[in-house]
């Protein structure tokens, strides 16, 4: 089979999985778990193979499929891999089996429906990443909302209904304005040529007047910034994370939040370059505010899930900062940071889930001295904590360092031209690194060390399934920290293209 076919197979496998699950009787729980695991593992194998075969030296789409879907509107079923999405697709299929396996013991209620929703979510997220047609992208983008709504709402904690509605109402509001902007954009671009097209390639080629760009960018940015989330649109995130079951939190932190930054990178900024250049200071300030504010909030939380939730806001601030630095190193750093955050935050949420299953509380003060009681757990936890802080040799370091380097380079260059603001911002962002060490080490200190406190003691240390899951994540964290060269090369051309699209003025049509 051709590689393009395999990409389609990977995308559609979860749908087949859902069909298979629906055919299974609800009582055969082991069979249901097995089907979900096999489907996600198969996706990972295909995704991994595609990643290896992805040619870093080729510009543009690879493994592309173009099929006319709604010919009357020029909508295509267009998917493919490029430097923008290849790492995120890999991240998604990597986390898939871990999420499924991680939920083996945690989810007891409506098992079949749960795995159906996880697979549907997997389908929608991958679809949003690989879509190369705005209409298709929007379909997948919106489809993600429903399984997540149900996952939080059905299997979540006490205040799950409130949390899930907040999540949906926030994201849906962003999406509805984005939809208006999409329709307007497509029709604006249609008028000169007469041809209706939703293809990304056609849309980025055109250029709109700046006021229109500003309006449309605000609509897109609102949607992406809510998803990401950026301060001040972040208030849905802590609740959603806290109330979601472990699997929901992992998917949310690991992949779903990246949708926002991916949207900025693939659509928001390249589609409206003039507006982006004009709004750079705004985005930069919001990014820095997210970094600092998220970190400060993480510092004072007593719920362990909330600490990681707020740290996500801080970490995704770096992604935004890297993207908007418009420096090759910074952009690549942003991509690495996305993957790295997916791994560390995903891993930490899994670990929180594991301890919650044993001790039934998320109160930080209830724990202490885990290092003695649960040595294996503690080792994994410490590694992920350090990766989250950004210790060298871990993925967190690669991402944050590159982002800061890129931002500082741009800042310095602009300082020489007389602008102080970008340099100030990059300096302020460095403070985030210190803060992240502060809140993560505070967390680790009272969690792992000090006098031993353990609700529902004695509890068992990790079982082999959990070790395997965490081992995979830790291995990936180190791989990305020690050998970032390969992944960076795969995204390099895309980073250059992204920069060129925004910085190089194009001829109006």
């Amino acid at each position: 089979m051709a590689d393009a076919t395999w990409l389609n197979v990977m995308l559609l496998l979860p749908v087949a999985g859902v069909a298979l699950l629906l055919a299974l009787p609800s009582l055969k729980e082991d069979a249901i778990r097995a089907v979900a695991l096999v489907v996600t593992l198969a996706q990972f194998v295909i995704g991994g193979a595609l990643y290896l075969r992805f040619d870093a030296a080729t510009v543009g789409l690879q493994f592309a499929t173009h099929i006319a879907w709604i010919p009357a509107w020029g909508v295509q079923y267009a998917i493919g891999l490029d430097g923008y999405n290849v790492l995120l697709v890999l991240l998604t299929v990597f986390l898939g089996p871990l999420v499924v396996a991680g939920a083996f013991s945690a989810i007891r209620k409506d098992l079949k429906f749960f795995y159906c929703m996880v697979l549907l979510l997997q389908f929608a997220m991958l679809g949003a990443f690989v879509a190369q047609d705005l209409f298709l992208f929007y379909l997948f983008w919106e489809t993600m909302m429903i399984p997540m709504f149900l996952i939080i709402g059905i299997w979540g904690g006490e205040r799950r209904i409130y949390a899930t509605f907040k999540f949906v109402l926030y994201t849906a509001f962003g999406s509805i304005l984005m939809l208006a902007a999409i329709i307007y954009l497509v029709y604006m671009l249609q008028s000169p040529s007469g041809e209706l097209s939703f293809a990304f390639a056609d849309l980025t080629r055109a250029r709109l007047p700046r006021p229109v760009q500003l309006t449309l960018l605000s609509a897109f940015a609102l949607s992406f910034a809510i998803k990401m989330p950026m301060v001040p649109l972040h208030t849905w995130l802590p609740q959603a994370h806290v109330e979601a079951p472990t699997a929901g939190s992992v998917i949310l932190a690991g992949v779903l939040l990246k949708m926002g930054s991916y949207g900025f990178m693939k659509l928001g900024f390249p589609l409206f370059p003039d507006a982006t250049r004009q709004l750079t200071p705004l985005f930069m300030s919001l990014a820095v505010v997210s970094i600092i504010y998220g970190a400060c909030l993480a510092l004072v939380q007593n719920d362990i899930k909330k600490i990681i939730a707020y740290s996500s806001i801080s970490h995704l601030g770096y992604v935004m900062l890297g993207l908007i630095s418009l420096d090759i190193i910074g952009i690549q750093g942003a991509v690495i940071q996305m993957v790295s955050h997916g791994l560390t935050a995903g891993g930490l949420f899994l670990m929180v889930g594991m301890i919650y299953e044993r001790c039934h509380t998320r109160e930080l003060a209830a724990y202490g001295g885990l290092a003695r009681a649960l040595p294996i757990y503690s080792v994994f936890f410490m590694v992920l904590t350090l990766a989250s802080i950004g210790l060298p040799t871990t993925s967190g370091f690669t991402g944050e360092f590159l982002v800061l380097l890129g931002t500082a380079t741009t800042g310095w260059r602009q300082y020489q031209d007389g602008a102080v603001f970008p340099l100030l911002m990059s300096a302020a962002a460095v403070a985030g690194v210190v803060l992240s060490a502060l809140y993560m080490l505070r967390f680790a200190k009272s969690f792992l060390f000090g006098p031993e406190k353990l609700p529902h003691a004695p509890v068992m240390d990790l079982v082999w399934r959990e070790k395997l899951i965490l081992g995979a994540i830790v291995a990936a964290v180190f791989a990305l920290g020690l050998f970032p060269d390969g992944p960076m090369r795969k995204s390099e051309l895309a980073a250059q293209e992204f920069r060129a699209l925004i910085l190089v003025p194009r001829m109006p049509r």
């Binding site: 709604i70 010919p71 009357a72 409506d110 379909l139 489809t143 509805i176 939809l179």
Partner: protein, 464 residues
């Protein structure tokens, strides 16, 4: 007059008429008639097939010149309305399976719808409109169970407001006739362009009449009561068939004529108010049918919005919307759990925990709600997209954005139904499993086209 032309051009109408006669004969001859639904199903299906056939062959005829004509557009509209009636009939099997008058009324109403969709003059429109509505007043009265008084009130309200709509309509037609000396629909589209005070007055009255019929704010107040008072299949009939027929008729009257400045605002502001108010009011309902009534008020707004678009796009948008909206409503009604009587079946909180009692029903209602909310990838989204795409393409960006924001308001109450069914603990499973054969068949009849539309929307959109 050519009898053969009349037989062919009025094929659907004739089959329905035959059905009515046969049903009446059965009522007279058989002492305790059974299987009325099956008979009615057969005739409606045959009528729908006839309409599809006429559409497929591109049949054009004017059996009564200037009054009634058959063309592919009208045949397609008829086949949609008749096909939507099939699940309604399936739904009524449990409550009205052996009730012959019920089916006679239903078929008469469908006959009116067909007449309406083929009308060339306001005389035929009037006939069709009345024939469509009059049986429904009686149908509302035929409540299943113990809710007699409430359905009496509902029917009366519906009748009074329906009568007002008729009077307004007649006045409009009289003014139009006074101005142009003609009753034909084409004279109306001509009058729309000319800024003649009499024509404008006629236009506004006509618009009000159809706004009342479709329950657009501020002429909507009858709908929640009528929907709640009627029994479930009748509510389904009103929410889908009647609404679809009215909107398709408006489309036939307005045609592809361009809307002038002030008209545009009238056609945008009231439907916009309808969208916003319908969605807001639906949030606080405790009865499923009242909620659906408010939701249908909002959807009437979307449907009228489609008229803002350019001529050729209107037909496509309204037709697609009507099909999707109708199927979704029917799917929701088919999934409703059966209750001891209509009122208890209707309470929203009875849906709590439905997922644990009746998975199939809960999933069906869930899909219907998501689609009505316009959430992709379900076809409700494509329908909404089609409407707003046309509005935006016609240059009414502000109205499009406001309409979309209005549709956002609806998400909450549709999702609340899902929350109730899936996330709330419900009462314990109610004893023995009920026979849900008819409901399951109905759901499948609705679900399969929905899924096809979701996966291959291009297949339909390219054609119409």
């Amino acid at each position: 007059m050519n009898w053969l032309t009349i037989a062919t051009a009025l094929a659907s109408e004739n089959i329905l008429l035959l059905g009515i006669v046969v049903l009446l004969l059965v009522e007279i001859v058989v002492s305790r008639p059974r299987g009325a639904t099956t008979l009615a199903l057969f005739f409606v299906a045959a009528a729908a097939c006839a309409a599809v056939l006429l559409y497929a062959t591109g049949y054009v005829a004017h059996p009564f010149p200037g009054e009634f004509s058959t063309d592919p557009e009208s045949s397609l509209a008829k086949s949609v309305v008749l096909a939507l009636a099939l699940p309604v009939l399936l739904l009524s099997r449990d409550d009205f399976g052996n009730n012959v008058p019920y089916h006679v009324l239903l078929l008469s109403s469908l006959y009116g719808a067909c007449l309406l969709l083929s009308a060339d003059s306001f005389l035929t429109v009037f006939l069709g409109l009345e024939l469509l509505s009059l049986p429904v007043y009686v149908l509302v009265l035929m409540a299943h169970g113990h809710a007699r008084t409430r359905s009496l009130e509902a029917a009366l309200k519906y009748l009074v407001l329906g009568g007002t709509a008729t009077a307004t309509f007649l006045l409009a037609v009289a003014l139009l006739y006074g101005g142009s000396g003609s009753l034909s629909l084409s004279s109306f589209t001509a009058a729309m362009v000319v800024p003649d005070p009499m024509a404008i007055a006629a236009l506004i009255l006509l618009m009000i009449a159809f706004f009342i019929k479709a329950a657009v704010v501020p002429f909507h107040a009858w709908a929640p009561d009528a929907y709640e008072g009627a029994s479930v299949p009748v509510t389904a009939f009103m929410a889908t068939i009647v609404k679809a027929a009215i909107l398709l008729a408006v489309l036939r009257i307005v045609g592809a004529a361009p809307l002038s400045g002030t008209l545009v605002d009238a056609f945008a502001i009231l439907p916009l108010a309808s969208i916003v108010w319908g969605n807001l009011a639906a949030m606080r309902q405790t009865s499923f049918r009242r909620m659906i009534a408010y939701s249908s008020i909002a959807h009437a707004g979307f449907l009228y919005y489609a008229l803002l678009g350019d001529g050729p796009g209107r037909y496509q948008a309204v037709l697609f919307y009507v099909v999707v909206y109708g199927l979704m409503n029917l799917l929701a009604f088919a999934g409703l759990p059966r209750g001891s009587d209509d009122a208890s079946r209707d309470r929203l909180d009875r849906l709590a925990g439905l997922f644990h009692r009746d998975r199939f029903g809960a999933l069906m209602i869930g899909i219907a709600m998501l689609s009505l909310a316009g959430i992709p990838p379900l076809p409700g989204f494509i329908a909404k997209f089609l409407v707003f795409k046309n509005v935006m393409a016609a240059g009414y960006t502000t109205y499009a954005v406001l309409g979309l924001v209005g549709s956002y308001l609806g998400i909450y109450f549709y999702l609340r139904v899902i929350q109730l069914m899936f996330m709330s603990p419900g009462e314990a499973a109610a004893g023995a499993r009920q026979d849900r054969g008819a409901a399951v068949v109905t759901s499948l009849v609705c679900l399969i086209p929905v899924l096809l539309l979701a996966v291959f929307p291009g297949w339909v959109i390219g054609r119409v």
